[in-house]
Amino acid sequence: MATVELKGVRKVYGGGVEAVKGVDISIADKSLCVLVGPSGCGKSTLLRMIAGLETITHGTASIDGRVVNEVGPAERDIAMVFQNYALYPHMKVYDNMAYGLRNRGMKKDEIDARVKRAAETLELSALLDRRPRELSGGQRQRVAMGRAIVRNPKVFLFDEPLSNLDAKLRGQMRVEIKNLQRALEVTSVYVTHDQLEAMTLADQLVVMNGGLVEQIGKPLDIYEKPASTFVASFIGAPPMNLLGTVTGGKGAPLTVADLSDLGLSVPPGTTTVGIRPEDIEQGDHAGEGLKTRLTVEAVEPVGAESFLHGTANTHRLVVRVPGRSIAEPGAVLPIFAPRAKLHFFDANGKRVEG
């Protein structure tokens, strides 16, 4: 139904603080784009600029090919789900959902039909006469969703909609949002700081840091080929192990300050080597790769898998082991990471292929 285009978008506040420092994103029709990053990275500001709640200092935002910089939030044909839901506390669920339609002068029976249909989709039919304070967190979340979908907008905007829910409900709602978005085929922009939410929901993932885009791509592409050490450490839980202070030239054996005996060649310019916790194998292996010994310091059994926290020389490492781990704190294990699974980054933290 609509595409969203951001071109050179910047946000500078009155005091000279630059929250967004030039962002280009193009979001395809019917896709779900997730903006992810730590707090203060500018992702919410960006979303609010798309919504029209913040002015755009430089650059343009377009919805469906129309530049909307000077268009008010009501005329952009968007719907937004807020973190605190922003339900009108003095209105019943029905009126909360009908409010936007009434303001647009829609006929009563059309409003009624739309609200009832949305309520059915979200299993809210029994709650239409309640007030928000009589609802649980999950139900409020649904009403907020309902208020967005009755409008049948061009674009959905989600501002950390699940962060006020408990973990179980969050997982449930995540799936529901995904299904709903698929079913309605509405272009969506979703802001979160939770990398799991980002990975599972996104068609297109945008990792942001310090007001800039670090990487844009499909979630698994980003996971497999993080463009920078920031992305590498932000996407994935537990995060990628980053071994710094690596020096070495082309074809030369890797010489790490205190991590020796690796028997590994790295691309030129590499200063940091990254390894995902699940890419580390136990035992002595043949072949090119990173070989070292891990002194286990702590074991975290999560059930289906266990995390071994330890040090290899002075480098801290986390290793993901399937099932239960028999290792006890204090044990010294030989570990191995094949070269093909290693990530290399230069002094600026940018990815180096090789």
Binding site: A51, L53, G72, F82
Partner: protein
């Protein structure tokens, strides 16, 4: 429910509430009971002789056309003062809420009039609108309005209402500003996305959510208009011209302390007390239920 605090000492709780009780007893219950006692007596102006007359004083008061007039005056005065003071304060608060730069400075200025004593506030307005030397009176007259609150009853009423309301605006403003700050900003943003213009947002979102504050101020302002405006009326019109601004409180004072009809004056204050208790009870019983949201 928080657990009840219990005192091991039986005497301590009474000691702790004693100052409050003493003040209430000395300054409310004692005078109130005196008023009730006095209202059943008829006394000569010199206090030399008094006789028990039962409810005769009340009969006389309620049959007095001046008293009925005073009730009318009070109703008009109180409603007008409360509505004017609250409407203007709400308007100013909504406007002040939009100010970004110098917010604190702006608010401080708005709060100052509250520090002015009622009688002085009355005098200020009296001077400004004095037909012979007031600036505003001059402006009104040059605008073709025959302005003379000393002889014209409605004009005198208008003057005391404006003076009394002006005094209360700062107080109301303070509460409305606090009330507005308690409304989450995202609600207003959600309404903006939902296609509500500024006026519509005010009436459908902000005004209903301010209702608890508005209700509280309604109680306070009604009580203020009934009792605390004595100073303003005394300074500006003295109840005149021709009893046009003689509110119930002013009549109590006039009859009791000026005309020395002590029994009837006491009867009036008892009636006044009943009216205010009833008003507050009604407000809390019926209105409060409808204005509180979770």
């Amino acid at each position: 429910m928080s657990p009840r605090v219990t005192f091991p000492n039986k005497l301590l709780p009474y000691l702790l509430v004693a100052p409050q009780l003493a003040i209430t007893l000395v300054f409310f219950y004692w005078p109130a009971s005196q008023a009730i006692y006095q209202s059943t007596l008829r006394e000569d102006p010199f206090g030399l002789d008094s006789a028990f007359v039962g409810i005769d004083n009340f009969r006389r008061v309620l049959a007095d056309p001046n008293y009925v007039n005073s009730i009318q005056v009070t109703v008009i005065f109180s409603i007008a003062t409360a509505v004017l003071a609250m409407a203007v304060a709400m308007f100013l608060a909504v406007m002040a809420d939009k100010v970004v730069r110098g917010k604190g400075f702006y608010r401080t200025l708005m709060i100052w009039p509250y520090a002015v004593a009622p009688a002085i506030a009355g005098m200020l307005w009296l001077f400004m609108f004095n037909p012979s030397m007031g600036t505003f009176a001059y402006m009104l007259r040059s605008a073709g309005i025959y302005w003379d609150p000393l002889l014209n009853g409605p004009q005198a009423m208008f003057l005391v209402i404006v003076a009394a309301a002006w005094k209360q605006i700062s107080y109301n403003f303070l509460f409305f500003v606090a009330g507005l700050q308690a409304i989450p900003k995202t609600l207003v943003e959600a309404a903006a996305i939902d296609g509500a213009g500024e006026t519509k947002r005010f009436w459908t979102i902000i005004f209903p959510l301010l209702a608890p504050t508005t209700f509280f101020l309604l109680v306070i302002n009604t009580t203020y208009a009934f009792f605390d405006t004595f100073g303003i009326i005394h300074a500006v019109t003295g109840g005149g011209p021709g009893k046009a601004t003689e509110t119930l409180v002013y009549k109590v004072y006039n009859d009791g302390f000026v005309n020395l009809i002590l029994g009837e004056s006491a009867a009036q204050s008892v009636i006044l007390m009943v009216i205010v208790i009833a008003l507050t009870a009604i407000q809390f019983r019926y209105v409060e239920k409808k204005v509180h949201y979770g």
